[in-house]
């Protein structure tokens, strides 16, 4: 016997991931749902329709659910479509080791994260009031909104509790290097390899932990702590601008207040402060002022937080043992995550990340095709002639939010490696328009794929609900 896989990519009419996989070996079938979410909230109706469709397909069969990381666009469906999802026979849930709700480090991280978001929200509100009408700050805050929406308000906790409840706590927290048989199929039919998220070997080595100590995510924790203290520092400064004025502590920070002379006051003409003030506020030299540059820290924190979470993405490779074909699901892994795969030793296996990539026939594009989510060296290894790339993207959302998705830079690579066989969640096919010249013609009809893809319309028949592609044995 040898295995085949049907990959279904749902169209959320929104930015987000939702993949239903059916592995088949002879008469045995195994279902797997990888992520289910939308970037913009309020997409309940569509998410319910998707959940129904999942239910109709999976029926009472056991289903494995994989949550790659805790961003809204990967998990909102596990909250909004509760009434349907809870009826499914979810027999196992897979998370990355970083999302272990009972693990000490995960709890500490979640706390730190929640604290960060709370402070972050306060900071934004204060900055909006204080710096209304300053274009650079307003642009920063707008861009920040786009980033924060991925993770703000921590819906991850609720989704994870739901999944644990539905699966009766039957869950796996996966660490890179693990590899095992796909449940529900005969042994040695499909092997699952865990590639990411990275552990931190440098830190492991340096801290010299005893063997049973869990220190995989120390680095992440350290960064979270730093983010938290940065965020508080900015918060203290912003708070001091409110009518209540600065706290005692803040007035004496970072120096005793006797050294500080408010810029708003007037000083006698020969006073040295008045000279400094005249120099700083010289109407000829507005370009030398630094009134708002410090607020860039707020934007940087969003970027950092986003990268932290995306780098915590669970990355799985599925190997169809007989045909040696590999399916690669990377969640939103960013470059740092990709780079770590090449050093991962697999338990009791000779497989390497390089080898798995070189045999990849289906690649789920990382982070909706944004350019920092596919390592070019990694993509270059994908040399299988039948490679198909699936991009869960929504151009409308992406353009509205100004995300760097679907950029010609990335698509040139996809085009070259898959010879144009690229599928998109929103439009099915990629129409490059006149944006660029690509080496291959992008696939534009169902029969450009072997076997041809299947499209199923939604209830209202206004768009497709999903597309399906089969990786044959």
């Amino acid at each position: 016997m040898s295995a085949s896989v049907t990959i279904r990519m749902y169209n959320q009419l929104n930015l987000g991931d939702c993949f239903l996989l059916k592995f088949k070996d002879g008469t045995k079938e195994s279902f797997m749902l990888i992520d289910f979410g939308s970037y913009f909230s309020g997409n309940d109706e569509r998410e319910l329709e998707i959940a129904e469709s999942i239910q109709q397909t999976v029926k009472d069969n056991p289903l494995t659910v994989v949550l790659t990381h805790q961003h809204k666009d990967h998990l909102s469906g596990f909250i909004s479509a509760r009434e349907i999802m809870e009826k499914l026979n979810i027999h196992e849930v897979w998370f990355s080791y970083l999302d272990d709700p009972k693990g000490n480090e995960a709890i500490a991280m979640r706390k730190a994260t929640e604290k960060f978001w709370k402070q972050n929200k306060e900071n934004k509100e204060k900055a909006k009031v204080k710096f209304a009408g300053v274009p650079a700050v307003e642009n920063m805050l707008a861009a920040k909104e786009g980033f924060d929406l991925f993770a703000e308000d921590q819906t991850g906790g609720e989704a994870i509790s739901n999944l644990l409840e539905w699966s009766k706590n039957n869950c796996k927290f996966l660490v890179p290097g693990k590899n095992f048989d796909l449940p529900g199929l005969p042994s040695n039919a499909v092997k699952v390899f865990v590639l990411g998220p990275p552990t931190d070997p440098v830190l492991l080595q340096k801290m010299n932990p005893s063997k049973h100590e869990e220190v995989h995510s120390l680095n992440t924790m350290l960064q979270l702590n730093n983010l938290d203290s940065s965020s508080k520092l900015i918060g203290d400064a912003l708070k001091a601008f409110s009518p209540a004025g600065p706290s005692m502590e803040e007035s004496n920070f970072p120096f005793n207040k006797k050294f500080a002379h408010p810029a708003s006051l007037d000083y006698p003409k020969d006073d040295q402060i008045s000279k400094l003030k005249a120099c700083y506020t010289d109407p000829q030299l507005p370009w030398r002022r630094i009134d708002h540059d410090w607020l860039s820290e707020m934007g940087r924190m969003s970027l950092h937080m986003d990268a932290l979470t995306n780098n915590s993405s669970l990355v799985l490779a599925f190997e169809l043992v007989k045909s040696k074909k590999v399916l690669l699901f990377v969640g939103d892994a960013q470059i740092g995550n990709w780079k770590s795969w090449f050093g991962v030793p697999f338990e009791n296996s000779t497989a390497t990340a390089k080898d798995l990539l070189s045999r990849t026939v289906l690649y789920k594009a990382g982070h909706h095709s944004s350019h920092n989510a596919t390592l070019l060296e990694g993509l270059d290894l994908m040399n299988e002639r039948e490679l198909v790339i699936m991009i869960p993207v929504n151009q409308t959302v992406s353009e509205k939010m100004g995300f760097a998705m679907l950029k010609p830079g990335m698509l040139t690579g996809y085009n070259r490696k898959s010879q144009g066989r690229v599928l998109r969640a929103d439009t099915v096919f990629h129409n490059p328009g006149n944006t660029n010249t690509f080496k291959f013609k992008f696939a534009s009809k169902d029969t450009d794929f072997k076997p041809k893809i299947k499209q199923v319309r939604d209830k209202s028949n206004s768009s497709h609900l999903f597309i399906e592609y089969v990786v044959k044995e």
Binding site: F147, L233, F259, H261, K275, L276, C279, R288, I290, P408
Partner: protein, 660 residues
């Protein structure tokens, strides 16, 4: 009464947040000797103005008045982390020290300027009196040079909670108190004033160069603090560079100072072995070909220069160690003799001085655009041959060996030797003798007032020749930086006009010798990724003279303390910009307006005694190879527009590079 030559100011030799032990504290307080100048409270002097405005509190901090009697009487304020006035004094001392070091090496004044686009396409190059320094500009673990504001911005932040270093968790860390960081940021500013086009990341070495050059200057500066070096030599019993001592300390402080960015640098100096001991990093030539991010690449250049320092130190102290050990080379147990400590630290300081001097001077031997590390090695070697033709101290060979061990070998040389690494005279790399002759003649025509003595009586000096000579004399005579700037602009303008539209008069297509091309430029290359042949043509604009710049035209006199000679040099740069239209090519959709600005040109070094061209360091504007590399590199390093908005950094090339 005469003015004093120096002002002495107390300050830290390294970041005080890492000196919590008593022993370290003592050696951390040093006296900076600053060239005397009158200052206003700030301090504000001739070159820099320190404006201690904290926008996060909308307040000014009390400025230090260095002219105050009590301050003058006691070598300035005593070091204190809690007094902003001491912070200002520290920044002032470190910054002025670096400026003096650069002026000494370059043989001319440091002049700040900026280019403003007055109306679309029309640029004005204006003089800026002082570099502005904001010691407390933000609450973040960052410090950067802003070319747009012509300012250095330093942040402060809370030391991280679970940190394994020596600092106190939760305490405030001020980046402006770290001399390493101040030197680093100021070096960015000075480098930018000398080479404004080096901040354009046209190849993987460019931003890396900015970073590593700044680190090299900061690193070498460490060895000029005699008490610090002496202490280290005492503690390590002469082995100054053992990883457990200075080297390790240095690396760790560099690493801790700005977190992950500098960690890259640190990892090029020391690393942990399997037992958790710090050991020096062995040079690895493959890294230059495999690492691409600016910090790691920068680390390679820093490591190469530092490796040269180590080689020189070991070589030069070997005799002292033999003398002190009865010829065995192995020192006896116990503390080493204080005299030996002095001699060893003097060697270290001398080597550091020489290396910094050559590194700085090499800037004048760099191409004006698109520098790579190989070019910099050639510049270093040429600068050193000019400064010290004999090389008894072995400096050049140390540089050659260490650069080779780190894989930095220029592509276009046949043998790896001083002779082939030095930049070549024109006739050795241009075949068309007539053109070379024509360019030489043109230079004589423009600059040499005694041209008749050189050529036949038919040749005349240019009618504008008088102005050129006067202008050069004035620049050499003048001490006022504003006047020097204006006069230099004027000189560049005259020289530009003398060449404008006349290249063909001298010799058809002579501009090619200067890396420019006034005919239509054709680029043609094969792109392996897409398997496509790519062709571009940049047409010549009809009707007007081709556009080019004489960006720099600087006469300098350099005294050589080694042989007592003074060399009189003229440093010129020619630049041409070709606007490549990328529409309907595989590069469409990446660049604003689908255009790419390709620059080429040359740095010319002219001997002012003979008006002969000593070196021409050329980057051809029409090089297909360079264009291909630049486009590919730019495409791999596209910035996200939303990231730029997020970081409020549309115009801050160094801010993002530095933040952690």
């Amino acid at each position: 009464m005469n003015k004093p030559s120096y002002r002495k100011l107390r300050g830290y030799a390294f970041d005080p947040s890492f000196s919590s032990t008593i022993g370290r504290r003592q050696s951390n307080e040093v006296i900076y000797k600053i060239r005397w100048e009158e200052t206003e409270p700030g301090p504000c002097g001739e070159y820099i103005e320190i404006i201690d405005y904290d926008p996060t509190k909308e307040c000014f901090y009390e400025p230090v008045n260095l002219e105050n009697n009590y301050v003058l009487a006691d070598y300035g304020l005593s070091p204190s982390e809690g007094d902003p006035r001491f912070h200002q004094q520290q920044v002032y001392a470190v910054a002025m020290n670096v400026i003096a070091q650069f002026e000494k090496a370059l043989g001319r004044k440091i002049i700040w300027s900026r280019t403003v686009e007055e109306e679309p396409g029309k640029y004005k190059h204006e003089f800026i009196n002082r570099l502005r320094i904001y010691p407390h500009a933000m609450r973040q673990q960052n410090a950067f040079y802003s070319p747009d504001k012509l300012a250095l911005l330093f942040g402060y932040f809370l030391a991280s909670e679970n940190w394994s270093g020596n600092n106190v968790p939760g305490s405030v860390v001020f980046t402006c108190l770290s001399p390493d960081i101040v030197v680093h940021e100021l070096t960015h500013a000075i480098l930018d004033s000398v080479h404004p086009y080096f901040k354009k990341g046209t190849n993987p070495d460019m931003l890396a160069f900015h970073e590593s050059f700044s680190d090299i200057i900061a690193l070498l500066q460490r060895f000029t603090f005699i008490p610090l070096v002496e202490e280290q030599i005492r503690n390590s019993r002469g082995d100054l560079l053992s990883p457990q001592n200075l080297l390790g300390d240095l690396a760790i402080q560099f690493g801790q100072a700005l977190s992950s960015n500098r960690r890259a640098l640190r990892s090029f100096l020391v690393q942990y072995d399997d037992e958790g001991n710090l050991v020096p990093v062995e040079p690895d030539p493959s890294k230059y070909h495999t690492l691409t991010d600016p910090h790691s690449r920068g680390g390679i250049l820093v490591a190469a220069v530092f490796n040269a320092f180590t080689r020189l130190y070991r070589y030069r102290v070997a005799d002292l160690i033999r003398l002190a050990s009865n010829g065995s080379g192995i020192l006896a147990q116990g503390e080493i003799h204080p005299d030996l400590v002095k001699r060893l630290s003097n060697e270290a300081r001398e080597i550091a001085d020489q290396l910094s001097l050559i590194c700085i001077r090499a800037l004048d031997y760099c191409p004006p655009v698109d520098l790579n590390f190989g070019d910099f090695l050639r510049a270093l070697i040429t600068a050193d041959v000019e400064y010290n033709p004999e090389d008894e101290g072995g400096l050049r060979f140390a540089l050659l060996e260490s650069f080779r061990s780190w894989g930095i070998v220029p592509k276009d040389i046949n043998t790896y030797s001083v002779e082939s690494l030095m930049w070549k005279p024109l006739e050795e790399f241009f075949e068309d003798e007539d053109q070379v002759l024509a360019l030489k003649k043109a230079i004589q025509y423009v600059f040499n007032p005694d041209i008749k003595r050189v050529y036949t009586s038919m040749d005349k000096a240019s009618p504008k020749n008088d102005e050129v000579v006067k202008s050069m004399e004035r620049i050499l005579r003048e001490n006022n930086r504003s006047t020097i700037f204006k006069e230099s602009r004027k000189l560049s303008g005259i020289v530009h006009d003398m060449f404008d539209g006349k290249f063909e008069y001298f010799k058809e297509n002579m501009e090619k010798l200067l890396g420019m091309d006034f005919r239509p430029i054709r680029y043609s290359f094969f792109d392996e990724r897409s398997n496509q042949q790519v062709d571009f043509e940049v047409p010549r604009t009809e009707g007007i003279n081709p556009v080019f710049q004489v960006y720099k035209c600087v006469p300098v006199i350099r005294h050589n303390s080694l042989n007592g000679n003074a060399s009189k040099l003229l440093i010129m740069t020619f630049l041409q910009k070709a606007e490549v239209d990328l529409k309907n090519t595989l590069y469409q959709g990446y660049f604003p307006g689908d255009k790419y600005e390709m620059r080429g040109g040359a740095t010319l070094l002219i001997d002012l005694a003979t008006y002969e061209i000593k070196y021409a360091i050329v980057k051809n504007v029409g090089s297909s190879n360079r264009l291909k590399n630049q486009l590919d590199y730019a495409m791999e390093n596209l910035n996200d527009p939303e990231n730029a908005a997020l970081l409020m950094q549309d115009a801050e090339p160094f801010a993002a590079l530095h933040s952690h």
